[in-house]
Symmetry: C2
């Protein structure tokens, strides 16, 4: 569906729900992200759409039959667009269905959000060249950016079982570490605990094993995007990661924001994509006219830190950095085409992490490892505190939003997780 | 349940089913492995136990209510042992339940075996020091065995969606490769396609996220063991694997044998475990008296190759090598304790690959990469053919069995997969 026949992005659209028209809301009628929620008095998960400060229960308006989000996700893109149109029309000012839709609202403050779907396989990519270069310097000072980086959308498999919904806390992980000057490793609580600012990309239509997904149809296999925190234990990572990659340094916990912003909602925020002049052009299986014209997405990202002292002061925390997804070196379509180039089968609900989305400038590192230069320069906070890595009780909050002249702001909500003390 | 109160291993036990008493069968009454099968005339999966040349339908004898293997797997070990005892007693010569059990048999030749369970997360370990050393020499001639190997049971996450049941075929994968002397990489069919001889270890009882599983109870969380082929595209692997590990070189296909041999069936074949003299002893979180006494398992393993020419000659193929699981550097219990040392939550049905199980001697490489010395020395076959890597139409068959004086031979069946030509 081309943008010109799709009215769901029209900035003049207003909802009969007042909070959806607030310019500051993440969830205007132009957004309509999907998630799974649980009412306070009920154990079951329901499929909902965020609108202003409310959740629309899709079953109560008759738009879904059950709570199987993965079934909804695997619908063809056309069917998902028809669903989006129906939700948009029901929520618009003057809709004849206002009564039915209003009866299906529940305040966001009265629900508990779960993971948005059942995640089958989770793959983490490494699409920020700024992150890869800065971190590469710390693990391999002589060889920061490996020769394959500008050719291969580097990715690796991660752990699905330990991906948690926003708002959780997890104990500081224990693990085996070895400092460079020590003779033997020791086992104990992680001392270099970090976050990673990422986006989570959800697969919709599966492909049959053995069948590649070409660039031309790659985005038909994508449902939408959330915020994703890939917590990382840097001291465990440094000792374990060769030769087969990160493992226990990552799989103790990851955090997803509750709302999946659909590719349709993001349509107005697409940007041209190209590798910098002088860099290799993508191989043909990673290239398409559509990707060059609009493969990138302009999503502004923020990391916030709320320390125990800030909580005691009722402070919402301090913003540590900002970056933009449009600075990534590989696009969503390239991730899909690369992942299936060998015939690997994707399934509805599979999750891709974008990799840490650091920006090109100093201060745009998407992790404390980058901001503190490997722990050497503490990050000074406005209240006088400082951090090289995370301390017990720290809460990390990721935020993201899209802005463009002539369009309503589209927000991602927040992705929030807290470090609890290590268990004895 | 200690061996002396458990009668299910008694070599004198005979079944009223004649084929189960054949000394050559993989599935005597002392084995009783679990799998999921589908009748020719039926679409649904059922839980079955292999006995001789038959499958016992557990629902038809009233021992399970449904086909949810993962529910059965997550039962406490005591409950699984009671189930094993009940199956054993029903199949014994003289059993009062012979009629009921006989009515629940279906010939193995008349069923199609599926994957034994729903696999949530799949982790591949790297527990053979012989494999790690030989392969390390090829990827890093100066640095074959990395300093962490003797301290850390190295593992990494793999892809669950592309694990297939024995008997399948898959197209040769395409991918990005770069030869050392080429200036830029190219995209095309893999030219160094390989197998890896592994065992698949299935998790039973889950742990709660944040809770570690100590060595003392690690095996209570293990259901049993199958054969596993971790097909590998060596040319793709060489170009993609740094810095985050293997990805598209592995996730196009893996193959599992249909029957899970339970830890209870393997009890008589346990062996003492120790690192070689002079090597570091395992850190305390990877050590226990029980692991030292019986952490290893004596499982003899074989790889067979059946080329298209052999198929044309009605040959069952040629055995390429043998090795033994008891030569692994890390045990099943150590894999479980390490994987959860950081609080990572395991779920029933999760799969661990052992890593390629090469033996200490020349000719005991568990992959063609090893047997052909990185493709430099073709492996000569008895019919005059030779292989450096796999060719289209090649079938690889893994076999495994346990033997010990005074006990019946316990077999694993076979794990079989075939390379189809690359798709255009």
């Amino acid at each position: 569906m081309a943008l010109n026949t799709d009215t769901t992005h029209d900035a003049s659209l207003q909802s009969w729900l007042e909070s959806a028209n607030d310019p500051a809301t993440d969830f205007p009628i132009q957004n309509l992200p999907f998630g799974r929620f649980r009412r306070e008095d009920d154990d079951g998960l329901c499929i909902g759409v965020a609108i202003g400060d409310q959740v629309l229960d899709l079953r109560r308006v008759g738009l879904v039959q059950n709570a199987q989000m993965n079934q909804l996700m695997r619908l063809p893109r056309e069917a998902r667009q028809i669903l989006r149109q129906a939700i948009s029309e029901g929520l618009r000012q003057g809709s004849a269905q206002e009564g039915k839709f209003r009866a299906a609202l529940v305040p966001q403050s009265e629900v508990k959000m779960g993971l948005p779907c059942e995640i089958g396989d989770y793959t983490d990519f490494y699409t920020s060249i700024h992150h890869a270069t800065t971190v590469g310097k710390q693990f391999r000072p002589d060889n920061p950016l490996l020769p394959n980086y500008k050719w291969v959308p580097i990715g690796y498999h991660g752990r699905a079982s330990s991906i948690f919904a926003s708002g959780h806390s997890f104990p500081r992980p224990l693990g085996q570490t070895k400092s460079p000057d020590a003779e033997i490793p020791t086992f104990g609580p992680c001392r270099r605990l970090d976050y990673e600012l990422e986006l989570g990309i959800f697969i919709s239509r599966p492909n049959i094993a053995g069948d590649r997904i070409p660039m031309s149809s790659a985005e038909e296999h994508v449902f939408g995007i959330s915020l994703f925190n890939d917590w990382s234990a840097r001291d465990i990572q440094g000792w374990e990661y060769q030769p087969l990659g990160p493992f226990l340094s990552k799989n103790f916990a990851s955090t997803l924001s509750p709302w999946i912003v659909t590719m349709d909602a993001l349509e107005p925020f697409r940007k041209a994509f190209a590798h910098p002049p002088g860099d290799p052009q993508p191989l043909p299986y990673l290239d398409s006219p559509a990707n060059r014209e609009g493969g990138a997405i302009d999503i502004e990202l923020e990391v916030w830190l709320q320390t125990p002292a800030m909580k005691a002061d009722d402070s919402p925390g301090e913003r540590l950095m900002t970056s933009n997804y449009a600075d990534a070196y590989w696009t969503v379509a390239q991730m899909v085409a690369h992942h299936t180039a060998n015939g690997c089968n994707l399934r509805a609900g599979d999750l891709f992490g974008s990799g840490t989305l650091s920006g090109p400038d100093v201060g745009q590192g998407g992790s404390l490892l980058e901001l503190s230069d490997g722990g050497k320069k503490p990050v000074k906070l406005a209240n006088g505190e400082a951090r090289t890595f995370l301390e017990d009780g720290d809460t990390v909050i990721l935020r993201g939003y899209c802005r463009r002249e002539g369009f309503r702001r589209i927000g991602f909500g927040e992705c929030r997780g807290t470090v609890a003390p290590a268990r004895p």
